[in-house]
């Protein structure tokens, strides 16, 4: 069989080359894009639905909704109308939310930054992995667990520390109390929130610290720096915006916390700046407190409060996100 005898080889038609995606790819892209905008749709829907439910209350009360301290529903629990007109104001709760969140950050940030530094630069490698996973596990603890633990274990100890602070620092207006009620105070709620935010701040700071360029670290050592002077000259300036961003993320988390605050805080409708006094508030725990017996307009007022809380945390998280993403450009 010689070569000439072979049958004709069918030359395949040259395939058309094009940059137009196939049909399957177009379907794929549309489906994935639709899934991708789900977060946009959900966030928009949250703002929309809370907005339309709360619109009446918000437009009736106006700016007073966030400045007024009173919360009174004219409808009694048995459905009859009360004598006074309803007033809805979350001023006291907003003040309380911000105070407890600030206490949480003030206590949580130093501890979290120290533990991030310890984990990244000091911890022996044998225990580092274990410690990191313990702190990550803490982030996954349910908030009701923190509430229960805070109420049963932290509160007695916290009361003692609050009395100690009051005894020695009562000349500072912040630590003064007008009545000797130390349990269920914003201070204790702040400590619980601090413990809840530590894992978040630690992991954000650790992330930023670990991005410190190795050559700068080694340059510092080569110039004769001790470990601490290296950290102060290289790591902390490099990671400063990471720390700030982590603190903001923690602030956002602390503001929206519900169950843990509700269990440990005594909710009172007045602005209380004495953090050791057992009276405070939190928008989220207001919603939980009033939801069970609310009806009609009060429900709408709670929706409006939820909308304010949503916008507040969104704002804080946006700022945090901007700061964290800007991080890592500085440092000596």
């Amino acid at each position: 069989m010689s070569i000439s005898e072979t049958t004709k080889i069918a030359i395949p038609e040259p395939r058309e080359i094009s940059t137009v995606p196939r049909f399957s790819d177009r379907v794929f892209r549309v489906v994935v894009s639709l899934g991708g905008i789900s977060s946009l749709v959900i966030l928009g829907a949250i703002a929309f639905f809370l907005g339309i439910r709360g619109f009446d209350v918000l437009s009736n009360t106006g700016i007073k909704f966030i400045t007024q301290y009173e919360w009174y529903s004219a409808i009694n629990t048995d459905g009859t109308a009360g004598e006074q007109a309803s007033t809805f104001g979350i001023g006291a709760m907003l003040v309380g939310t911000i105070i407890t969140a600030l206490i949480a950050v003030a206590i949580g940030v130093p501890i979290a930054v120290a533990s991030a530094l310890y984990l990244n630069f000091y911890a022996p490698t044998a225990v580092r992995g274990f410690l990191v996973s313990v702190i990550d596990l803490m982030a996954a603890f349910p908030s009701i667990l923190f509430g229960l633990w805070g109420f049963n274990v932290l509160m007695p100890g916290g009361e003692y520390w609050a009395k100690l602070l009051h005894k020695y620092l009562s000349f500072v207006p912040l630590f003064d109390v007008s009545a000797p009620v130390f349990s269920r105070s914003p201070f204790i709620a702040g400590v619980v929130l601090a413990i809840m935010t530590i894992p978040i701040i630690t992991s954000v700071s650790r992330e930023v610290f670990s991005q410190t360029p190795l050559d700068r670290i080694q340059a510092a050592y080569a110039l004769g720096a001790t470990k601490w002077s290296m950290i102060r000259a290289v790591v902390l300036p490099f990671g400063s915006s990471g720390i700030v961003g982590g603190a903001m993320l923690g602030l956002g988390r602390a503001m929206g916390e519900t169950v843990a605050v509700f269990t440990v805080l005594n909710i009172v409708f007045q602005a209380n700046f004495q953090i050791l006094l057992g009276a405070g508030g939190n928008v989220a725990s207001l919603i939980i407190l009033k939801f069970g017996e609310a009806s009609g307009e009060e429900i709408n007022a709670l929706m409006a409060a939820g909308l304010i809380l949503f916008l507040l945390t969104l704002l804080v998280n946006t700022v945090a996100d901007l700061i964290v993403n800007r991080s890592g450009r500085k440092g000596r």
């Binding site: 439910r53 533990s115 100890g157 470990k227 949503f310 945390t313």
Partner: protein, 347 residues
């Protein structure tokens, strides 16, 4: 002849007893000093002991380093100790929480706790009456439904960010980040306002899982995005070079390669929502009987059972709350451990 003795191995960098002497003194100083502080000042309790011991350790370590090697070494030792104390302070609550839950929770655990529900038990009944079967079934159903809703959306979001890299990538990444900061109570309120009031539909398990899905989505999407970014682009190019379309490449090369990472992402999402309480208070109604139908009727769940027991406040229900939280914590820890194990595996 063969009487050669090998030289004893030496460790010249080891501190001699004489050099260790200050450390011994420092240890004695810290122990005695903190005893004196607790005995004669206002400090008390475990935390007080910890505080005084750490302050004294800080002082003595700094002084020793300062005396031995100068001011810089002193500063270094001071801040090194301070940072270590911070690390211990961060770990302490976890230890305390786990210890408390184990001690208080085991009292309420018995076999019937897992096989009966609370429909025939009141809050003041003995611990041997009633259990959390309804809550366990409810939690499992809620989590399963929330997964069915949120996992596809989350994975599609991650694919949009890593594979399509569409024009909205930056915005979507930001929105997912923002969504992870949405307070859980807002998710519950949203579901309540959009699907429950004014529609005539009552509380049900499905509503609860909608709220949980909102909270789960960002966690899964962010972790999945990180995992997909780790897949080398060589794999994608190889898939395309073999003539595959993008769809085939993603479905048959990228996603299978990232499988264990994606499972980790899902488990982390489940761990995030397993203990959520606030959104369930607005959506599920929290029944006391076993309800296998998530679309109709109130449905209990472990966090809701804890909440109810906590509110009622009797000793027995408090013990039930701790026992339920032990169950919940074990669930979270098992999930977390599994995620770690899977996450360590090479992609």
């Amino acid at each position: 002849m063969s009487n050669v003795t090998a030289p004893k191995p030496m460790k010249p960098w080891r501190a001699t007893p004489k050099e260790l002497l200050p450390n011994l003194f420092a240890g004695i100083f810290v122990l005695c000093g903190s005893w004196i502080l607790i005995e004669f000042t206002g400090l008390s309790g475990k935390l007080g002991a910890f505080l005084s011991a750490s302050i004294l350790t800080l002082i003595s370590v700094t002084l020793i380093a300062n005396y031995k090697s100068g001011t810089n070494a002193g500063k270094n030792a001071f801040f090194g100790t301070l940072v270590a104390i911070g690390g211990i302070l961060a770990i302490l609550p976890v230890a305390s929480i786990i210890f408390t839950v184990l001690v208080k929770g085991t009292k309420g655990i018995y076999l019937g706790f897992f096989t009966t529900d609370m429909s025939l038990a009141s809050v003041n009944d003995e611990l041997t009456v009633g259990g959390i079967l309804h809550a366990i079934i409810g939690t499992v159903l809620l989590i399963a439904l929330a997964m069915v809703i949120s996992v596809p959306l989350a994975i599609l979001t991650a694919l949009y960010l890593t594979e399509i890299k569409g024009p909205g990538s930056r915005l979507i990444r930001f929105l997912v980040q923002a969504m992870s900061g949405v307070p859980s109570i807002v998710a519950g309120l949203f579901i309540y306002s959009a699907f429950i009031t004014g529609t005539g539909r009552g509380f049900s398990g499905f509503m609860g899982s909608l709220a949980l899905a909102i909270l789960m989505l960002p966690t899964v999407a962010r972790t999945a995005e990180e995992v997909l970014l780790l897949i080398p682009s060589d794999l994608r190019e190889a898939g395309l070079a073999l003539g595959g379309t993008q769809w085939r490449t993603v479905a048959m090369v990228v996603v299978p390669a990232a499988k264990s990472g994606l499972v980790t992402a899902i488990i982390l999402g489940v761990a995030r929502i397993a203990g959520e309480t606030a959104p369930l208070l607005f959506t599920t109604g929290g029944g006391d009987t076993v309800n296998g139908n998530p679309f109709n009727g109130v449905m209990g769940s472990i966090p809701f059972a804890i909440w109810k027991a906590l509110i009622s406040g009797s000793d027995e229900s408090n013990a039930r709350a701790w026992a339920s939280i032990l169950v919940l914590l074990s669930l979270v820890m098992v999930l977390f451990y599994t995620a770690r194990k899977l996450g360590k595996r090479k992609i």
